[in-house]
């Protein structure tokens, strides 16, 4: 490889914005990236083996060592006593049939959306979670966190017993001591503070009320690190109620998203994705919505934009006022409200540049009045939300508000003043007992509240938690609570939708349902605890609040069982609409004179608010935008990076409001030049070995004295501090050698795109240049089923739910950050992300990539032991027992989708963290757990095909393509993935393979892949992609 300086890109060529690049290095033609594209593996993947370095050893010594090691091995292998024996059930539980899965409906507790879930169990142990198809909100889909949450059930760091000051204590002693402390606090007129995250359960709320009744000095404080409080407050001031409606995105022709990641991780994003994708279908009538995104960071939603504007989060209010003013000035909307005119009159859009895009936006908003929606992000200040409410009012877009499905609050979030008062009371020792009710305020409250130091003054601090955390480590009682899959519960977060949660496994450890613990304390008698106390309480509450209102002929018990079976109860809810109150509008602050940078804090896509920090699967899913794993970072624009002379991995110090944080840099194309985006949820210090000290805690930069939003801070300064912290990014891993293909064959892009206009004019534009391909191998005829997949790139949002589902279904190991750095991540699916255009204004394309199950698979020809071969139904299959690990197949795969077990990763990762009797229970028994030295890759979920086949044989039916649903397909929130029998001409897959927009990646190689991609159409005004 020559050491010449990076080649300069042809700017003329770039101006057509068709050339794809994966990173800034790639864009600059860095030699390192070119080398990566040519080479099969990253440097260091294959360690050097130098026989010269071996010590000389005599034959005699060798044989002596061999004999000794044989003897030692024999000794070591005697540990068979504890392995258990495979014996049939002596008394088989009624519900369990060995080998047959059972499914249970329940409700997810991963976030406040309370999606309906279906839990699959095998021989009594939960092994997979998917969405509940009967649930009207998420309709059979759940997010990546929900998919991977099953690993938390089997987390070896879960608490096994109640603890007091790190010592084991019995439940009875703990309850007696705590009841006595509660009575003491009550008798001495000291407050009992219960601190909790958002409460979504009406029955939990009732128990908390009962607790206050029993101990009247109790106060409840509700606080979540990430919440929709700004949106709720704005709605309350605009319409006089905290209950805000959901949005009918499926009817919106124009969507303007203002720093709202509504397709990424904000609000009910699984529901939003489904609704958004309904207007991105190319089957039948092509009736696309148009997505404008105005944002300072680069979000997953921003990647989907047809038009993207770079606007710093602190300028959003000016931008919305400017839009309103422009619409009023041009007579597009008419308002006689003098308050509105006074507030927006002085605002102009000129400062935002991007004239062409903004005028297109204004025209679209005006022309589609009543069929467009403007949507602001949860992190934006209340004022922006009020202005957005006004804009939607003026344009008649309120027609897209769904008042039949409003977002409800069971318990309102405590205000900043209430939290400050709590801390003051703690400091002045007015509080006798603090109960952390499944929450972690020491981690999630900004430091300037002084919560941690105030906690030291409290005599009795009790934490109800699944595993030790920052708050429990400061207390004196740590009580283990059940995992949601071991718990009863209910949720009422959307009007008319009541969800039920049921336990599917008995508590694995000596833990208790958190509500049952409170019930025991309410009774005042430690002996009163019964395992089913909360079950009974929930049923009674269900009967009095739900059954009694349902007017059904069924008796209460039957109705309860039926509700548990379905997981959800639906009822009608009266629709109430209110009038907009324009006095809620506030003056916009001028941001022209604001010095420094704007720090924007957002929730992590996969570890959320830190709740999933100890989940290896989630830590290892590449970030949808940056592709970084196992870390957070300061995401800054290329221009800002140049200004501070920093590159990726360099450390910078960010200072704001006298708070400082040193973070590694990630140079992110498309970020506003004055914005710095940092994700919350990292930097946990008291957590299991997986999540400890992963990333940095961005709460450090948060303050109780924020100016407009707790997530946005102006006037930040940045300093290069020297040193680096290596981020493990998969951005340039598994790069497809496109230069090689271009040199030999006609140019066929990996990403094929067009515009709606172009497609309407010329539906066959994609295949204009297609030529006949010739092969040297004879065609194999598939007479029965032929399995194939299609992926619609118009619908793919890079959410990575498919990756998470595949991890769980196929027992994919966690490899750890060091191995990801070496390019050894094991996920069978990856979402490739490409940029085109310029680093300032990039256009982003995403493409899920997995084994293409080629008919002429190049991997099969080179396997010396026939470990990879072809099945009669078109699968490119792996025989693990034959594989000797030559990796020839991986070398020969043009799609780079094969994964090699360089170690037994379960044993290798974090001191065998996931190699234990408990975590082994998460494995899907239908899928082999691979060990060191074996190659693996996507199997098209062959175990599901086999199950469907065996069912078809049992029922005497013919196996149909629709009988098989792969794990990624069932998980995809936008139904972008279709799987089936390509030989069935009436099947959806067969039609998609013949679609005008269908293409194969690297088709010129003539390997005949069986994964078909549907080219992405952008809904721009011209026939060209902007």
């Amino acid at each position: 490889m020559s050491s010449s300086s990076p080649k300069k890109r042809d700017t003329q060529k770039l101006s057509d914005k068709k050339e794809l690049w994966k990173s800034i290095k790639d864009y600059n033609g860095d030699n390192e990236v070119i080398k990566l594209k040519h080479d099969e593996f990253l440097e260091g993947v294959t360690e050097k083996f130098d026989s010269e370095n071996l010590s000389g050893i005599s034959r005699r010594k060798f044989l002596a060592l061999l004999s000794a090691s044989a003897a030692l091995t024999a000794t070591a292998c005697t540990d068979y006593h504890d392995k258990g024996e495979i014996i049939p059930y002596n008394k088989r539980p009624e519900e369990v049939l060995p080998g047959i899965a059972n499914y249970y409906a329940s409700t997810c507790n991963g976030c406040d959306q309370s999606c309906g879930i279906l839990i699959k169990t095998r021989e009594g142990r939960p092994i997979k979670v998917d969405g509940n198809p009967d649930h009207p909100i998420n309709r059979g889909k759940i997010c990546a966190k929900g998919q991977a949450s099953i690993l938390n059930l089997y987390d070896p760091e879960r608490l096994r017993h109640p603890l007091t000051r790190r010592k084991q204590i019995s439940w009875k002693s703990a309850d007696n001591e705590i009841i006595s402390s509660l009575n003491n606090a009550q008798n001495s007129n000291k407050e009992i503070a219960i601190i909790t995250n958002s409460v979504t359960s009406p029955t939990t709320k009732k128990i908390l009320e009962d607790f206050v009744f029993k101990y009247p000095s109790t106060k409840i404080y509700t606080r979540s690190l990430v919440n929709d409080e700004q949106r709720k407050s704005a709605w309350s001031e605009s319409y006089g109620t905290m209950e805000y409606p959901s949005v009918k995105f499926e009817l919106a022709k124009i969507i303007l998203s203002l720093d709202a990641d509504f397709l990424g991780n904000e609000g009910s994003y699984i529901e939003n994705m489904r609704k958004y994708a309904a207007k991105r279908t190319v089957v039948g009538k092509t009736d696309f919505n148009r997505l404008y995104v105005a944002e300072g960071r680069m979000s997953a939603t921003g990647m989907m934009a047809d038009y993207r504007l770079r606007i710093s989060p602190n300028q959003q209010l000016e931008f919305v006022y400017g839009l309103i003013n422009e619409l009023i000035k041009t007579g597009s909307v008419i308002t006689s409200d003098s308050t509105v005119r006074a507030k927006v009159g002085s605002h102009s859009l000129a400062k935002f540049g991007e004239k062409e895009k903004i005028s297109s936006l204004i025209r679209d908003l005006y022309n589609n009045r009543g069929q467009a929606i403007v949507y602001a992000g949860d992190t934006l200040p209340k004022e922006v939300h009020i202005a957005v409410n006004l804009l939607n009012e003026l344009l008649g877009n309120t027609a897209l508000y769904d008042y039949s499905s409003t977002f409800k609050s069971i318990l309102e979030q405590s205000s900043d003043e209430e939290i400050s008062k709590l801390v003051d009371s703690m400091n002045s020792e007015k509080i006798g007992v603090v109960i952390h009710f499944d929450c972690n305020p020491v981690y999630s409250l900004p430091e300037d509240y002084g919560y941690k130091s105030a906690l030291k003054k409290i005599k009795t601090v009790i934490s109800l938690t699944e595993a030790e955390n920052e708050s429990s480590s400061e207390g004196n009682y740590t009580l283990p609570i059940n995992h949601p899959f071991e718990s009863w519960g209910d949720a009422y977060v959307r009007s008319g939708v009541y969800s039920l949660q049921q336990p599917v496994i008995e508590p694995i450890y000596n833990s208790r349902q958190k509500e049952s613990i409170l019930l025991t304390w309410i009774s005042g008698n430690a002996e009163s605890y019964r395992e089913d106390s909360y079950h009974q309480y929930l049923m009674n509450n269900f009967n009095s609040t739900i059954y009694s209102k349902k007017n059904t002929f069924a008796d209460a018990k039957t109705f309860w069982y039926s509700a548990l079976h379905d997981g959800v109860v639906l009822f009608d809810k009266p629709v109430v609409q209110s009038k907009f109150n324009s006095t809620a509008l506030v003056d916009s602050r001028a941001t022209d004179n604001v010095n420094g940078y704007t720090v924007h804090l957002t929730e992590s896509y996969f570890v959320a608010d830190g709740k999933f920090a100890n989940n290896g699967w989630l830590q290892e899913i590449p970030h949808p935008v940056s592709k970084v794993t196992w870390d957070n970072y300061a995401s800054i624009s290329p221009k800002l990076a140049k200004q501070f002379d920093v590159e990726m991995n360099d450390l910078i110090e960010i200072s704001v409001n006298n708070k400082k944080l040193i973070l590694p840099v990630l140079v992110q194309p498309g970020v506003h030049d004055s914005a710095i985006n940092i994700e919350l949820g990292y930097g946990r210090t008291v957590v299991g070995d997986v999540g400890k000290n992963v990333g940095l805690n961005a709460v450090t930069l948060m303050s109780k004295n924020y100016s407009s939003s707790p997530f946005i801070y102006d006037g930040a300064s940045v300093k290069k501090v020297g040193g680096t912290h290596k981020l493990a990014t998969t951005q340039e891993h598994h790069a497809i050698d496109d230069t090689f293909v271009k040199d030999i064959h006609r140019t066929r892009k990996i990403i094929q795109e067009g515009t709606v206009e172009k497609y309407k004019k010329e539906p066959g534009f994609l295949h204009k240049e297609k030529t006949e391909l010739f092969g040297i191998t004879s065609e194999h005829e598939y007479t029965g089923n032929k399995w194939a997949m299609a992926i619609d790139l118009n619908k793919c949002t890079s959410c990575s739910v498919c990756v998470s589902a595949c991890n769980v279904e196929n027992n994919i190991p966690v490899v750890g950050k060091d191995q990801v750095e070496r390019g050894r991540e094991m996920q069978w699916m990856r979402i490739d992300r490409y940029y085109s255009g310029t680093p300032d204004d990039p256009i982003v394309s995403s493409q899920p990539m997995l084994c293409q199950h080629c008919d002429n698979a190049p991997c099969e020809n080179v396997c010396p032991v026939n470990a990879t071969n072809h099945s009669p139904d078109g699968l490119n299959q792996m025989v693990y027992n034959r594989c000797v690990g030559t990796r020839y197949c991986s070398n020969n795969c043009p799609y780079k989708v094969r994964r090699y077990n360089f170690y037994n990763f379960r044993d290798h990762f974090a001191d065998a963290y996931y190699e234990n009797n408990l975590t082994s229970l998460v494995h899907n028994p239908e899928v082999t757990v691979r060990s060191r030295g074996v190659m693996e890759k996507c199997t098209f979920c062959v175990q599901r095909i086999m199950e469907a086949r065996s069912n078809a044989i049992r029922d005497g039916k013919e196996l149909k393509g629709t009988d098989v649903v792969t794990a990624c397909q069932v998980a995809c929130p936008t139904t972008a993935i279709t799987f089936g029998d390509a030989n069935d001409p009436d099947s959806e897959i067969a039609k998609l393979r013949e679609h005008n927009l269908s293409y194969h990646v690297l088709e010129e190689l003539n390997v005949k892949p069986n994964v078909t991609y549907i080219a992405k159409l952008r809904n721009t005004r011209s026939e060209e992609i902007l």
Binding site: A71, L72, A74, Y104, L118, R125, H565, D911
Partner: protein, 58 residues
């Protein structure tokens, strides 16, 4: 090279086999990983008796 008699050779093998057999019978595990053994406890897995399955509607 030192010569070893047939008698001595089999004697050594015999002693080795006896030693291995005795060591194997001992309850001590010489080569088990300490950090792993702490996690190798018996796990109770039981279906919750009150759960209502729905195999008919998946």
């Amino acid at each position: 090279m030192e010569k070893i008699s047939r008698n001595k050779f089999f004697g050594a093998i015999g002693k080795g086999v006896i030693a291995t057999a005795i060591t194997a019978a001992l309850p001590i595990k010489f080569f088990s990983n300490v950090s792993k053994t702490t996690r190798q406890e018996k796990i109770k897995v039981a279906v919750h008796p009150s759960a209502i399955k729905r195999n008919d509607k998946v």
